[in-house]
């Protein structure tokens, strides 16, 4: 009886396997932040974003760009640095229940990565299409690019890097080496950002009008395929979780 009471007390004190609050807060962070960004675009895209030589463009768009550069580099440094610095040096000796809890935390990161990829690769990228097929560009740093290339892409890179680092530093399933498909699913979309260099070079060199299917854009396509690496991540996770769930259940 005493042992049972102790066990119940231990259960009550134990952290939940899935921290639902973190999952919801993480998701809301992306949804609310990008909702605000979309509002900003709607208001200041038309009123201050049409002429890059106008003073208001510097105020509302170039300053936005400078601020996001600073915040992104700081966030990446602090977040990735924290995840690496606080790594578990005895990761192979954790209990199965702790391992399961960490898989849930890992999936909280992956859900955030899913939000970040959606907004970056789908929402803001196709949005860029309608902006450039409507407004003639006179700069590389158009309002849609300042959001798409230099905000939404770094955010999914930071999130993907954090998910990868969490898995690598805290989960036994990832200690056999570097998981190739996980690397592809994080590094591939990351390469879309350097590919912006080719894109901008081409746009300043060849044409001012916009053909979305132009070969100049195929670099984005190639690296977008890397998102399919998530299939390999799912398979690693399913194998690990199945192994954990089948232990001593009888």
């Amino acid at each position: 009886m005493a042992a049972t009471t102790e066990s119940v007390k231990a259960d009550a004190a134990e952290a939940p396997l899935l921290n639902v609050k973190n999952l919801v807060l993480g998701s809301l962070l992306y949804i609310i932040f990008y909702g605000w960004v979309r509002w900003y675009e709607g208001v200041y895209g038309w009123s201050a974003g049409l002429d890059s030589f106008a003073p208001e463009f510097e105020t509302y768009w170039m300053n936005f760009l400078y601020i996001e550069f600073v915040l992104e580099v700081s966030t990446a440094g602090i977040l990735w640095g924290y995840l690496w610095k606080s790594r578990d040096r005895k990761v192979l000796s954790i209990t199965p229940r702790e391992e399961l809890r960490r898989h849930f935390t890992h999936w909280t990161w992956l859900v955030c990565y899913a939000w970040a990829i959606y907004y970056g690769a789908s929402y803001f990228t196709e949005q860029d299409g309608t902006w450039h097929q409507t407004i003639v560009r006179d700069t590389d740093f158009t309002p849609s690019h300042i959001i798409e290339f230099y905000l939404s892409y770094p955010i999914y890179i930071i999130t993907g890097g954090a998910a990868f680092l969490y898995a690598k530093t805290r989960l036994p399933a990832y200690q056999k080496g570097l998981p190739l498909q996980y690397l592809v699913s994080v590094v591939g979309p990351f390469m879309i950002l350097p590919n912006v260099g080719l894109n901008e070079w081409g746009h300043t060199f060849w044409f001012m009008e916009e053909l979305f299917v132009a070969p100049l854009h195929y670099g984005f396509v190639f690296f977008g395929w890397a998102a399919l690496g998530v299939l390999g991540v799912v398979n690693i996770e399913v194998a690990s979780i199945s192994k954990l769930l089948k232990k001593d259940l009888a």
Binding site: I135, G177, L180, F212
Partner: protein
């Protein structure tokens, strides 16, 4: 190993944990595939998909199925061959269509004021259902590639016909004959998209008259079969679980 070392404490908890992971995995898979598939599709077939005056009888019918069978083939290669889940193609298309519809409404209409009946996305769902059904019924990648891939290409135009037909009605405007979709393009000016880059109804095939769309669909179906094979193997590679040694 003692029971206290188990990750879960009862079968009921194991089931609950398993179901929770199912939802987390499905959500993540859906939105990550949506992102990758959408950027691929918008940059390989996007212009034909964005605007009704690009949705012609030749290039739209040819290009859209060929470039869109890619991700469904890859995701099927994982979901069916590893988990026997027969909805890889439908999940991809649901994701793509969700991403496209949100964008066309909130951004094409909400930001740059193009009406939705000028910039709605193509319907890819009939082909996706058939692709999944063929795989489910035959369990064969080869048959799915040949029969499903062919159906993917052939069904695209009929699947979109009820939506696009009213906009292909001929009209006379300032002494010229054009379609209602062409007229939409003239009225809703895209300053970054001059008329000379609109790729529609090009080549001698249009002299075949009413046969243009079926011939284009048949060619598209042929290439879709080949692309299915290729992307099935891509999908197998992406779904593998290789580890490499750190340098």
């Amino acid at each position: 190993m003692s029971a206290s070392q188990s990750a879960v404490r009862s079968r009921a908890e194991a089931v609950k944990v398993s179901r929770t992971f199912d939802w987390l995995i499905l959500f993540t898979l859906f939105f990550v595939v949506l992102g990758g598939y959408h950027i691929h599709y918008m940059l390989t077939g996007g212009d034909w998909d964005f605007w009704t005056d690009w949705k012609d009888r030749r290039l739209w019918v040819t290009v859209a199925p060929i470039v869109s069978i890619t991700f469904p083939a890859a995701v099927q290669a994982c979901l069916w061959w590893r988990y026997r889940l027969p909805f890889g193609a439908v999940v991809c298309i649901l994701g793509l269509l969700l991403g496209e519809w949100i964008n066309r409404y909130l951004n094409f209409w909400g930001w740059t004021y193009f009406p939705v009946n000028f910039c709605f996305p193509s319907n890819l769902m009939p082909g996706a259902i058939v692709l999944d059904a063929v795989l489910l019924l035959t369990g064969s990648m080869t048959v799915t590639a040949v029969i499903g891939g062919m159906a993917w290409g052939l069904l695209f135009y009929p699947g979109n016909w009820p939506i696009i037909a009213p906009l292909h009605v001929p009209v006379e405007y300032n002494g010229m004959m054009m379609t209602l979709a062409d007229l939409q393009g003239y009225h809703y000016v895209r300053t970054g998209t001059p008329e000379y880059i609109r790729m529609v109804e090009k080549g001698t095939l249009r002299t075949f008259g009413k046969d243009v769309a079926p011939v284009s669909a048949f060619f598209s179906a042929f290439v879709s079969i080949l692309i299915y094979f290729l992307w099935h193997f891509f999908g197998q590679w992406f779904a593998s679980t290789k580890f490499v040694e750190a340098a």
